[in-house]
């Protein structure tokens, strides 16, 4: 087999970053990203992109830490380079605050972020409703800039981009040798996976350039994330809710909760409402599957289900997905009577 033809379904942060990783890892391959939606219309474009990872109950902690660390290191290098502005990556410091002492005072990612420590009594005075807090410096990676930056990298290494809605992975069988499924919530249909469900998040993107720190309530429901050209205020976690239209009452609630943490936000202006559906799953699905239909075979690498941790874990999981793709490609290239996949 000469050139291995690889199709990546989905052009959110997973699809694009996996395609880029594949282009670096797998020799003699062609990569085509196929998606219905592209930036700025993907879920990754709505996410604030803060590197504060969630916990996946079905994934071992050491694996989550590895994925987070690989993502952090990758983005940290970009943040300190001349590419930072183009890629939409920046360093932000701030506070995660709790209304009661958390069972885990030091999370698994404490030594991956920078300068992690407990907040001092003086620092906590700013948040009279909260009794405990963590101060650290982390990264923010903004979809609307990062996704185009990934696309540019992909095209630079010969990758192709196609706009098309895929109803069934078998549609790709004729033109491609390996399919990488990064379709997020689309996997309910494309992979028949009922474990994946939306967790609706509504956010406000506002102008408040004087806010230089992030503030996150430990519950994860209320947060203030300053970015390059706006501040993201959030949020909600509505399980099973597929509604993509912003709700005005919810927006009022978000603004009020955020103003309670940061009163200067009363002066925020140019408020824009956005909704994203987190592709949630008890654990990230990162595995090979050999689809079979009669005599037809289609190797698939699934790479989806990151819930609220997409940006935070993307590079680590993309590297692993690329390794799985590389294994598939090697198997296709190995002449054997019974090919093991």
């Amino acid at each position: 087999m000469g050139t291995v033809r690889i199709a990546t379904v989905g052009a959110g942060v997973m699809g694009l970053s996996t395609a880029v990783c594949i282009s670096k890892l797998v020799p003699r391959c062609s990569i085509t990203v196929i998606s219905e939606q592209f930036t700025p219309e993907t879920t990754s474009d709505v996410a604030a992109g803060m590197l504060i990872p969630p916990v996946y109950p079905d994934t071992p902690i050491h694996k989550q830490k590895q994925w987070f660390k690989e993502t952090f290191d990758h983005l940290f290098a970009i943040a300190n380079s001349a590419e930072a502005e183009d890629a939409g990556v920046l360093l932000v410091s701030g506070w995660q605050i709790f209304r009661s002492i958390p069972t885990e005072e030091v999370p698994f990612w404490a030594d991956v972020v920078l300068g992690f420590r407990k907040m001092t009594e003086d620092e906590l005075k700013k948040f009279p409703q909260h009794v405990f807090g963590q101060a650290f410096t982390t990264l923010k990676c903004e979809g609307p800039a990062y996704l185009p930056w990934l696309e540019k990298r992909l095209k630079g290494s010969g990758g192709l981009i196609l706009t098309r809605r895929i109803e069934d992975l078998w549609e790709l069988h004729q033109s491609f040798d390996i399919v990488v499924n990064c379709s997020g919530l689309g996997s309910r249909q494309l992979a028949g996976d009922l474990k994946i469900f939306p967790v609706r998040g509504q956010v406000l993107k506002v102008q408040a350039p004087w806010v230089k720190h992030f503030i996150r309530d430990g519950s994860g429901l209320t947060y203030i994330y300053p970015g390059i050209s706006n501040v993201t205020l959030g949020g909600t976690r509505q399980k099973g809710d597929w509604n993509l239209s912003p709700d005005a009452e919810i927006s009022k609630g978000i603004l009020s909760r955020c103003c309670a943490l940061e009163p200067s936000l009363h002066g925020a202006c140019d408020i824009r409402e956005k909704v994203g559906l987190r592709p949630s799953r008890p654990g990230v699905r990162l595995e090979k599957e050999l689809l079979a239909q009669g005599s037809r075979r289609l190797p698939v690498v699934h790479h989806y289900g990151h819930g609220s941790g997409g940006i935070a874990m993307h590079w680590g999981t993309a590297l692993e997905a690329a390794r799985l793709v590389s294994e598939c490609a090697q198997a296709l290239r190995t002449p054997a009577p019974k090919s093991k996949l």
Binding site: E85, G115, P209, V211, K212, H213, P226, S264
Partner: protein
Amino acid sequence: MRVVVIGAGVIGLSTALCIHERYHSVLQSLDVKVYAERFTPLTNTDVAAGLWQPYLSKPSNPQEARWNQQTFNYLLSHIGSPNAADMGLAPVSGYNLFREAVPDPYWKDVVLGFRKLTPRELDMFPDYSYGWFNTSLILEGRKYLQWLTERLTERGVKLLLRKVESFEEVARGDADVIINCTGVWAGALQPDPLLQPGRGQIIKVDAPWMKHFIITHDPERGIYKSPYIIPGIQAVTLGGIFQLGNWSETNNIQDHNTIWEGCCRLEPTLKDAKIVSECTGFRPVRPQVRLEREQLHVGSSNTEVIHNYGHGGYGLTIHWGCALEVAKIFGKILEERNLLRTPPSHL
């Protein structure tokens, strides 16, 4: 009681406000006027980046340490008010970088969350091997002066464009007490060999991804002579110029290059940042702040002058503590003249 404040930078306007706030209701009549040749945006305060940070070494006058702290606490008490951004005030965190280990600064417990930098943080700055991280405050000169102007105008304090040639001229016409906040130009009213301009030049750029201040230190070159990057509310200030005795008010191309190269080396992400403006200012440098009372004999009456100038590169950092001190001295003058209806209870 007629008070004339000369100077409308941060020192003049904050002192005027402090006095009016404290004595307006305890005096039969209090008339406060501000005379200045330059108002915002043409003052030195307007050029300052506005980061609260005193010099690293202990001040020769220990009162200055107290005034710095009072200012920080006063500003901090406004964080949490919806008006903070109108004042030009916001918390900001960042890095102080050194080429070798140094002792902690005397103000380490005034700022928030002071700590040393970790090795991974230092990896971001290959030219430096030691440093601090802390949370401080930004008080943007221009916004703060606009805010002070509004507060003073609300209170009926008049701000007048007027070139003052001598204390006597003001004493003869208008004032019982003169507050001298003329900053770097104080020498024109009364020679002061201890006062010198510390010329600074800064470049303001559009770099909204910069959320931290980065201040480098080179003990051989001296304060402000090493690159610094300070994000403001809208723009980011790049600096690193300090020239004692230089009165040139125009921007200098060599200084521009020094600032630009130094800051881009420190922070490569700035390479494509758009330049918004560039300006020059004069820090009113003095071995210590001149904050004291002096009596002028003009004709048959005594006019009191309270000097409040010479705050170097830490005017915004120390301004409120000095304003409180001037208000205290003013209170003493009122007591001496039996002018107080009731003694001021909140000094």
